[in-house]
Amino acid sequence: MSLQSLAARHRRSLLLAPALIFLAVFFVMPLFDNSMRSFVTEEGGFTLARYADFLTDRFYLGVIAETVVLSAAVALISVVAAYPVAYVLVRKSGRFSGMIIFMLIAPLLTSIIMRTFGWQVLFARRGLVNQWLVQDLGLLDAPLRWLNTPGLAIAALVHVLVPFAVLSIASVLQGVDRRLEEGALMLGASRFRAFWEVTLPLTMDGIGTGAILVFMIANGSFVTLVLLGGGFQTLPLLIYQQFNTTRDFPLAATMSTILLVIAVACLWLQLRLVRRQGV
């Protein structure tokens, strides 16, 4: 390679500079600065005491566990619900595929406020669902309490995140050669077995990326949980409370750092999966 073309190549890489510098200063530095706050004592020395306290406190350990379990539950439900829809979209929908994609994208355009408002209208004590159950169908004698239950909060989170799971699975399913499944059928496998042993394993990467994506976003979400309640104690909710009321910022920084570590671990997992797909 001549010196000139080497110089040209480096000049081209200058194209990256604005974005890299911007994110280094306004994305990496704030996160770093925030994490540092959790390692610094009031006198300015270095300490791990906050993490030692945090990670040995039963309450906070419970909070971490609840954050992870809630996100995992949302991810699991989303993937299970998304798979049949993705399957219909890719394999069965035919001329309806455009409509299905539209119905999938439309909710993504709505604000978190709109969805929450919708849940409140539907599930209020005198809401639409209770009216149907009690008056119209006569299934219940008295209205049920839905708002501020864990189930409704989980449903609302799934509602926000499940389209991402459908899209992840559908994009992988699209790439699966139908002839593989047909081959299995021809060799005498039942339709169920052909799906279970051929198609499903081939779409595992889509399930994996979808689940991680949902887990990652659920992990950081708090607006839905603030508005719909459910009695959860998760890291984002506690950070929100610290900011609003208690104002123990080093503690909030400690919780942020733990949340970041979980997010980075997810990102790493996601990259490994994507690399395996050879994209």
Partner: protein, 263 residues
């Protein structure tokens, strides 16, 4: 039709009822003539749409949100398009690592980005200002532009640009006359996602609340805490209508498939 197919379609139908019902009820409520947000609806009226324009905080914050979304989107294009042009044409592991880094704001918890940025930007002297908010919004919008433009540019053969250069066009002319028109769908998609993301953002904007920097979602959240009237529904419906119009226009201009190759 086989039984499994019927079950699949039934499940899909139930799935979309679940997805669309909460949105549909809000749209219906926004046209109610009643003073409360509940069913059954006694009659139809547009008064809640009128109410939006009478409540000054909605209008003020609407302007803040619009300006913010435009500034963050323009900044994302200025920073992101050059980077995307470079990344789309390099296949080295090093470039993959940089792409991952540039897209990583999408994967980090928003609440942490908001919380950390508030302290950092305050320490820098930006405080709670429009500029501070614009900086943080650019951080979360930039990945969308980079992702869509990279994906579209990667799908375009370098032969077009090479042909222009061989025919004597300068680098700048080649960019303006060949590259830019070809990547326009990617830019349009990036701008659309970026604009909608910024306009809709609550978890980050929440930390930067003040009279000058309250965005529409922040004001709506505050309003909802005290009142539960249909004006929030009307505002949400309006917002959804605008987003759908933007999507349809973008689809007509560039085709939704071309734009979603990135996602």
């Amino acid at each position: 039709m086989r039984l499994t197919d019927i079950l699949l379609w039934l499940f899909t139908a139930a799935f979309f009822v679940f997805m669309l019902l909460p949105i549909l009820v809000v749209v219906v409520i926004s046209f109610t003539s009643a003073g409360y947000a509940a069913f059954p609806i006694p009659g139809w009226s547009l008064k809640w749409f009128a109410r939006i324009f009478e409540y000054q905080p909605f209008i003020d914050s609407l302007w803040v949100s619009l300006e913010l979304a435009v500034v963050a989107t323009v900044a994302s294009c200025v920073l992101g398009i050059p980077a995307a042009l470079y990344l789309a044409r390099s296949r080295s592991g090093w470039a993959t690592a940089i792409t991952t880094f540039l897209l990583s704001p999408l994967s980090m918890p928003m609440i942490v980005i908001g919380f950390a940025s508030l302290f950092f930007l305050s320490a820098l002297g930006f405080g709670v200002s429009f500029l501070a908010l614009a900086i943080v919004h650019t951080v979360i919008c930039l990945p969308y532009v980079i992702r869509t433009v990279t994906a579209v540019y990667r799908g375009i053969s370098p032969a077009y640009e090479e042909a222009a250069m061989i025919l004597g066009a300068s680098r700048l002319t080649t960019f303006r006359e060949v590259t830019l028109p070809l990547i326009r769908p990617g830019i349009a998609a990036g701008c659309l996602f970026s604009f909608l993301t910024s306009f809709d953002n609550l978890p980050v904007s929440y930390f930067f609340g003040s009279a000058q920097t309250n965005t529409l979602p922040v004001v709506m959240l505050a309003y909802m805490e005290h009142q539960f009237d249909p004006s929030i529904a009307a505002l949400s419906t309006l917002q959804l209508a605008l987003a759908v119009v933007a999507l349809v226009v973008a689809d007509r201009l560039y085709g939704i498939e071309k734009m979603t190759v990135a996602t």
